[in-house]
């Protein structure tokens, strides 16, 4: 655990001293680290690439604005995903579009498999896995994607507006289904 989280007074002091520039550096660093993850998550929500890219910029600027206004954000990554999720839904609702963005998902053209046979098997396995992920219910998929982005149950719950135990149940159901595919 970092000293930021372990000593509230210290955090307070740092926040007081944090000038606009140091905050900008921190948000810019976080932006570089996490922007692709957030962008990808927004695509899986059904946003089209240009909208998703705009939204990512907006989310990080909101983080900056929130911190400038003195809001205490314990876990910026979780905060970003929660705000991105809500913003993404709002954009989708405004789209008037009946179809969300729906990309072709393909196996990578180059894999590091030892032989063509193992490559083929790996591709088949991943193809089945992809179908199984698509077969999950909406909430199961959302929980799974957010978990893959490193969010904890309470954070996923707060993003989706459900309880941590519901997150656990959705993830359990998802894992049972995916395990079945793996065993085929």
């Amino acid at each position: 655990m970092s000293s930021f989280a372990s000593d509230e007074q210290f955090v307070g002091l740092i926040r007081q001293e944090q000038t606009g520039t140091s905050l900008q550096d921190r948000v810019a660093r976080l932006f570089e680290e996490a922007r692709d993850d957030v962008y990808r998550y927004l695509l899986t929500l059904g946003l089209y690439p240009p909208q998703a890219q705009e939204a990512v910029q907006e989310v990080f600027l909101r983080l900056y604005a929130a911190e400038r206004k003195g809001e205490e954000i314990q876990n910026p990554r979780a905060w970003i995903f929660r705000v991105a999720h809500n913003l993404g839904l709002k954009i989708r609702a405004r789209q008037h579009s009946e179809e969300p963005f729906n990309p072709d998902v393909a196996t990578p053209s180059t894999t590091q498999a030892a032989t063509p046979e193992t490559e083929l098997l790996e591709r088949e396995r991943m193809t089945r896995f992809h179908s199984a992920v698509n077969g999950l219910s909406e909430q199961q998929r959302r929980c799974l994607f957010l978990r893959m982005e490193g969010l904890r149950y309470p954070q996923i719950g707060s993003t989706l507006g459900i309880s941590p135990s519901a997150v656990g149940e959705f993830l359990r159901r998802a894992m049972v289904r995916l395990k079945k595919v793996r065993d085929e």
Binding site: Q24, V27, A28, F31, R35, Y39, R40, L43, T44, L45, Y48, P49, P50, V56, Q57, L61, Y64, A65, R68, K90, A93, H96, E98, E99, P100, F101, N102, P103, D104, V105, A106, T107, P108, R123, M126, T127, R128, F129, H130, S131, N134, G135, E138, Q139, R142, R147, M148, R152, Y153, L160, G161, S163, A166, G168, E169, F170, M175, L178, K179, R182
Partner: protein, 556 residues
């Protein structure tokens, strides 16, 4: 409790343990149990291995497959936020200075004017850039098209009901079935004679008093999207090829929720006079929307073609492969092509064994690409201002009524399972309806029609059984937690079972969402907050739509 006393933990508990989500005491119990129990350790390894698959899937499949951002990342515009924050604080100070207590009338007038001016400047800044870019790009595209020699253009036109092909550039008399589409475009003052052209797009756009533009640069193309509230056509998107700015794709969304997509065909083998309805197969990408007036029927498909497709569907139905297997049935010339991705090798063999003996049927599993099936689709923007407290109140009330948490979990689990099963049937029925439109059905022989309807009836019967279980289990409980007054939305009766299947799916999806809200596993998106009452209404509507489907399928 010692580790040996503890019963084998369930998957859910093990997963929460692995994810570090168990409280300390419970985690210690599980750890101690795992040390003693090989069976559970093996289960943990299975779970970890599935987690590993998820990580590989994200890293090797999802990440490289999703399109990269259309533009290079810009640095964050912190100055803009600083300026906005400063403006906010300035406007707050201004508002305080001119507060009604100090200068009652003048204060409000001035601060209102300042806010309006500021808002205008910001909005102008945001809007101007793409507007200029879109106008310039369209102008270039119009000039480029004028410099090209006139040539025939073939368009594949897709609507909710099917596909058709149109030839642009020859004397053209619209066929009867196109009248509806043409009328929509006419009402929007968009030239239907040459819809996929920069000139028509530009003329439509130029006639709008207010519109918003967005231009997206792709590696080999530009997408121009114009949205407006001034026209029956709310949004139009034109994809211009990067090399010569020729429009190659378009999408048009109308106020009445109909949409039309068109793509320029470069394949000269396509028969311009033919259209194939409902050959898209696969899981529909946007379920739940009732059909509009734009059902484009099959025009010249031969009776035998339907017969062959129907034989394929019947055979797949016999092995349950029409309930979620990612298979697509389409027509290539005289052959029925069954393509499948993500199918296990053993299942592939079964399908081959079944279909290879049918005439004119080709089965292909060699495509290594993943199906373009639905990425996670946000079915409804359900989390707007989620009323979490109400949601948990419903679940808590049901739990109390049922007598405890274990009873609630059994109740909830059964309902979710039945709903899952019913949804599978609703999708299968809709898929069948898309494959064989009402117009296509009219072309069929009496025997084929009987076969088709039997397939449909089977899906509806299975759906009705599950839906009935859900209703029987839920209704008595819901009346105790506020679900009383059911108000049915009145809709015109569907003309055929194909349309009714869309209504049924829409209704089933609504019910599924409400059920998830009431059970506390989805956020409450309903402004009224009376989810149980709405669920009772949705169940009643579902029942009536099921009956409607059954009635229409029984006809003839």
């Amino acid at each position: 409790m010692s580790s040996l006393d503890m019963r084998h933990p369930e998957d859910g508990l093990l997963l929460r343990y692995l994810d570090g989500e168990l409280p300390g005491r419970k985690a210690r119990q599980v750890r101690a149990h795992l040390e003693a129990c090989w069976q559970c350790r093996a289960q943990v390894e299975e779970l970890e291995s599935t987690i590993g698959e998820c990580v590989r899937y994200r890293q090797d499949v999802l990440t490289p497959s999703l399109p990269p951002p259309p533009q290079a990342w810009r640095s964050l515009d912190f100055e803009r936020v600083d300026a906005e924050l400063a403006a906010q604080s300035w406007s707050i100070r201004l508002a305080r200075f001119f507060s009604p207590r100090r200068h009652p009338v003048l204060g409000w007038a001035l601060s209102g004017a300042a806010a309006l001016a500021l808002g205008f400047i910001v909005v102008q800044q945001l809007r101007e850039t793409p507007k200029v870019e879109a106008a310039a790009l369209l102008e270039k595209a119009v000039r480029a098209s004028q410099s090209r020699p006139a040539a025939l253009k073939r368009l594949r036109i897709t609507t909710r009901g099917g596909q058709m092909t149109r030839v642009i550039g020859v004397a053209y008399k619209p066929a009867a079935r196109e009248t509806e589409i043409a009328r929509l475009f006419d009402a929007a003052h968009y030239d239907w004679n040459d819809p996929l052209s920069a000139k028509s797009f530009s003329a439509w756009r130029g006639g709008l008093a207010h519109c918003r533009d967005a231009v997206a640069s792709q590696p080999n193309s530009y997408d121009i999207t114009t949205t407006t509230d001034d026209s029956e056509l709310l949004s139009a998107t034109l994809k211009l090829r990067g090399s010569d700015l020729e429009p190659v794709e378009g999408r048009f969304e109308f106020r009445n929720r109909d949409w039309v997509e068109m793509t320029e065909l470069v394949d000269q083998q396509t028969n311009p006079a033919s259209s194939v309805a409902g050959t898209t197969g696969g899981m529909p990408r946007q379920p739940g929307v009732p059909p509009g007036p734009l059902d484009v029927p099959a025009e010249s498909a031969e009776t035998s073609a339907f017969s062959e497709e129907l034989a394929v569907v019947s055979a797949l139905h016999g092995m349950g492969a029409d309930l979620g297997d990612p298979l697509e049935i389409s027509r290539e010339g005289r052959q029925v092509l069954v393509s499948g991705t993500g199918i296990a090798p053993q299942r592939q063999q079964q399908i081959h064994g079944l279909l290879d003996r049918l005439p004119h049927v080709v089965v292909r599993f060699e495509d290594p690409a993943f199906p373009a099936s639905a990425m996670p689709v946000q079915s409804e923007p359900a989390t707007r201002d989620a009323a979490g407290s109400e949601k948990s109140t419903y679940a808590a009330r049901i739990e109390e009524r049922l007598g405890g948490r274990p009873q609630f979990e059994r109740f909830s689990s059964s309902l979710l399972d039945w709903t899952d099963s019913a949804m599978t049937r609703a999708y299968a029925l809709r898929r069948l309806a898309q494959q064989f439109s009402a117009a296509a059905e009219n072309e069929m022989t009496a025997e084929d029609r009987r076969t088709l309807r039997n397939l449909g009836r089977e899906h509806v019967a299975a759906f009705a059984k599950d839906a009935q279980r859900v209703a029987n289990t839920l209704n008595p409980v819901l009346t105790g937690v506020g679900g009383g007054a059911a108000q049915l939305e009145s809709r015109p009766e569907a003309a055929d079972w194909q349309s009714a299947s869309e209504d049924l799916l829409a209704s089933a999806r609504r019910t599924e969402t409400l059920l998830a809200i009431v059970l506390g596993v989805a956020p409450a998106e309903l402004s009224s907050g009376d989810a149980p009452a709405q669920l009772v209404a949705a169940l009643a509507q579902l029942s009536s739509r099921t009956e409607q489907c059954q009635r229409l399928l029984a006809g003839r």
